[in-house]
């Protein structure tokens, strides 16, 4: 089965090559999603992270000068611990005060979080939550 061995070797080389590639990428940039309180208990600045939270009611503002949105995120049950967020991009339609969001980006040393990506929970999920809390 010489040919079979050839295939296996070719396959292995490929897998190893991809493994190395994967591993290098793994070291370079990597971020973790955590809750607001988890992040606050171990703050890192200027590092790409993702934080899951809820938009604090009444916190959304539009800054006309630099055309960005400002809002705060906190854990659902603890609105005192919040992180101010600046978002420079479109607000998704499903974005809502009180709604769940995931922000990806970096916390600057000024204490303001700058997003690179803003994810808002899908309408289907949102409906589900609403349906559950309404009963």
């Amino acid at each position: 089965m010489r040919k079979n061995r050839k295939f296996i070797i070719a396959g292995l080389v490929l897998v190893v090559a991809m493994g190395i590639l994967f591993y290098t990428a793994l070291g370079s940039a990597f971020d973790s999603y955590q809750t607001v309180s988890e992040f606050k208990s171990d703050i890192v600045y200027d590092e790409y992270v993702s934080i899951k939270g809820h938009v604090v009611e009444g916190s959304l503002e539009f800054n006309a000068e630099d055309e960005s949105y400002l809002f705060e995120i906190s854990d659902k049950d603890n609105q005192e611990d919040f992180i101010p967020v600046v978002h420079n991009g479109a607000l998704p339609d499903s974005f809502e005060e009180g709604g769940g969001v995931t922000v990806k980006g970096e916390l600057e040393t000024t204490g303001v979080f700058h997003t690179e990506e803003l994810l808002v929970e899908c309408p289907s999920k949102y409906e589900q939550e609403k349906a559950q809390s309404g009963e």
């Binding site: 990597f30 973790s32 055309e67 999920k125 589900q128």
Partner: protein, 656 residues
């Protein structure tokens, strides 16, 4: 209605369980009567699940708000089309729809094999019944779509307006259909593995058709999802490597590998163990995707949240994976290739394509699962979507390259000289394109690599086609037009495949163009003020707000100029809707589509007087080619699925 539906589900559970047991006993002890009644039970399951679907549909259309599901996802002001699509809009309903598709496919399988019932197709029915039982259990015990409340609300919550898009009508059913269709070739494969019999000509043809059908519906479903995200969600993108999006992509990649491996198996009698492995992976990934969407295992924007289905799905997937892989290992010794071949041959290239597709699937799986996997050993980690782009992109590049070379490679042992001769013209064109791009001012390496590569692949495919046409003109005396269709007619699977490959080339072209060259600008404009985006000048001309009974529509009119001295080339009206019953606004993006690029205008905000408005404008190159590519892919798939008329030569067969 609710009671009829629920009772139907209970009865369907009973008939499915009966068909499962009766089939096993019937095969085991050779009772043909028992098998016959098992077949009838499968038809009965189909009828009963259909009853349940009709019951829920009726409840949705007649606004029976006492049923929680109807109350949660519909309202009286919805159009019939969206009332129907609410069937798959929620967790319980989409599960019911999944179950129904499974029962339809199960019935088709039985009916098509009435005359020559084999052990393999009987075992396939067992697998389908077992899968249906899982869904019925979930519908009965965990997510009952017919659950009633004691109060009867007078109005429902309605479907989220974001979901009121044509994408909602076709994207979920297409994906679910693909998922469910995978169960049939999986079942037949497991059947062949259990019975130890080869799936001969007739069944082999069925397996191929089901596999292509699943591949086609999954592919088109994913592309429609991308289109929907691009048109409706207003972020200018179409793919975010979200876990649930990946859950739709992974089975598709695996079934792509499967279709190619099947072809090799049928034609050449090679890759016999590889094909079963691919369908095992594809089916279980589909089940895993269904589970992922209904759990909070990973942080996704698309899931229904934790629905308490974890134990059911995980037990099912564990049994089906261990069982089928175990069977495959057990039968491995019997799966000897009919022919030997060199690595440098068409067979070898197919195997390499398969390995790359499997690799892509594996890489996406590991990357998707990283948050969960990494949490086991350290902090929760996650990949950026740009990292997905690069890593998956590289593998995809290799697959696309092979797609072009495969078609002109010789069987068994390819000759470098022949291959070079066939590739030379395309390679010259690709080289010229590369130089041309560089002269025009393109300096990004990926564009200089990808576009010429795509040209090479497309040229190779078209030349192969041209060769066929010329040969036919010569030998049959047809004109090129006749020869073109005659060629497709004579070998649908081959030319269907070529059309699909051209579709993939177009799709890739759109993806590369749109992901590397997009421009984004935003500006606060006063009325009659203008902004420049790329080569365009946009003038904010008018602002209006209109009240209808159900919503307020805010519209901005923007004139688009290429050259301000020339007349305007377009007038765009980005809008925002405020539905009375929903707190979220709906952004209606205005898009000017041309083959070269899309001008994508979003109205983000305004001051109360309407004299100032905030716009976000994007220029997304070549997006149109993605949708064209998707359409070409659909045509190619349909061509290769079209009934052939003549009986296929029984050359290989699937299984053992």
């Amino acid at each position: 209605m609710a009671d009829i539906g629920y009772v139907s589900l209970l009865l369907a559970f009973a008939t499915s369980l009966f068909s499962l047991v009766a089939f096993i006993l019937g095969i085991r002890f050779g009772y043909d009567e028992l098998r016959k009644s098992a077949r009838n039970a499968i038809i009965a399951s189909f009828a009963l699940v259909s009853f349940a679907v009709i019951a829920l549909m009726t409840a949705l259309i007649t606004h029976d708000f006492q049923i929680n599901y109807v109350y949660s996802y519909t309202s009286t002001d919805m159009s019939p089309l969206y009332l129907i699509s609410a069937l798959w809009g929620g967790n319980a309903g989409s599960l019911l729809f999944w179950a129904w598709l499974l029962s339809v496919f199960g019935a088709i399988l039985v009916l098509r094999n009435l005359k020559n019932q084999s052990d393999s197709s009987s075992y396939a029915s067992v697998v389908l019944s077992a899968t249906l039982i899982l869904f019925l259990l979930l519908l009965i015990f965990v997510a009952n779509p017919f659950e009633k409340s004691t109060l009867v609300p007078s109005e429902g919550r309605g479907l989220n307006p974001l979901l009121e898009n044509f994408g909602m009508v076709i994207h979920p059913p297409a994906l679910l259909m693909g998922y469910a269709a995978l169960a049939v070739p999986f079942g037949l494969t497991v059947g062949a593995l259990i019975s130890g019999k080869k799936l001969g000509g007739y069944l082999a043809g069925q397996v191929r058709k089901w596999a292509i059908f699943a591949w086609l519906t999954l592919g088109v479903g994913n592309i429609i999802g991308m289109w929907w995200a691009y048109e409706e969600l207003g972020w200018g993108g179409y793919w975010g490597w979200d876990p649930v999006e990946n859950a739709g992509l992974m089975p598709w990649l695996a079934v792509t590998a499967y279709v190619h491996s099947l072809m090799m198996q049928n034609k050449r009698g090679v890759l016999k163990a590889w094909s079963p492995l691919m369908i095992i992976i594809a089916f279980n990934l589909a089940m895993f995707g269904t589970y992922l969407t209904r759990s909070d295992l990973l942080n996704s924007v698309h899931t229904f949240g934790d629905t308490g289905m974890e134990p059911y799905f995980l037990s099912f997937i564990t049994i089906s994976l261990l069982g089928s892989v175990g069977l495959l290992i057990y039968r491995l010794r019997d799966m000897v290739a009919d022919h030997s071949y060199e690595f440098f041959s068409r067979e070898g290239a197919f195997l390499l394509t398969n390995i790359l597709l499997l690799l892509a699937t594996g890489v996406i799986f590991v990357m998707t699962m990283t948050p969960w996997l990494s949490e086991l050993v350290m902090d929760r980690k996650e990949w950026k979507s740009s990292q997905f782009d690069v890593i998956v992109g590289i593998i995809f590049l290799l697959i696309v390259l092979l797609m072009g070379i495969c078609a002109v490679m010789g069987w068994r042992q390819a000759k470098v000289k022949n291959l070079g001769k066939k590739l030379l013209p395309s390679a010259i064109v690709a080289g010229l394109l590369c130089i041309l791009l560089a002269i025009v001012g393109v300096h990004e390496w990926y564009a200089l690599v990808f576009f010429p590569l795509l040209a090479l692949v497309a040229m190779t495919i078209l030349m192969e086609w041209g060769r066929g046409i010329r040969a036919r003109c010569r030998t049959k005396g047809e004109n090129p037009f006749e020869a073109f269709f005659g060629l497709i007619q004579a070998n649908r699977s081959r030319y269907g495949g070529m059309i699909v490959h051209l579709g993939i080339v177009l799709l890739t072209m759109g993806i590369i163009g749109s992901s590397f060259y997009d421009i984004e600008e935003e500006a606060m404009l006063h009325i009659n003020e203008s902004m420049e985006v790329g080569d365009y000048t946009l003038v904010f001309e008018d602002f209006s707000s209109e009240d209808t009974p159900s919503r307020t529509i805010v519209t901005a009119r923007v004139a688009v100029y290429r050259d301000t001295a020339q007349p305007r080339i377009a007038e765009l009206t980005p809008e925002k809707y405020f539905h009375k019953s929903f707190s979220q606004p709906i952004t209606e993006v205005a898009i000017r589509t041309t083959p070269a690029e899309d001008l994508y205008v979003i109205l983000e905000g305004w001051d109360d007087s309407g004299a100032d408005a905030f716009f976000r404008v994007k220029v997304n190159p070549m997006v149109m080619w993605m949708w064209i590519g998707g359409f070409v892919l659909l045509i190619g798939g349909v061509v290769s699925l079209w009934p052939n008329g003549r009986a296929k030569g029984d050359s290989g067969g699937i299984g053992i």
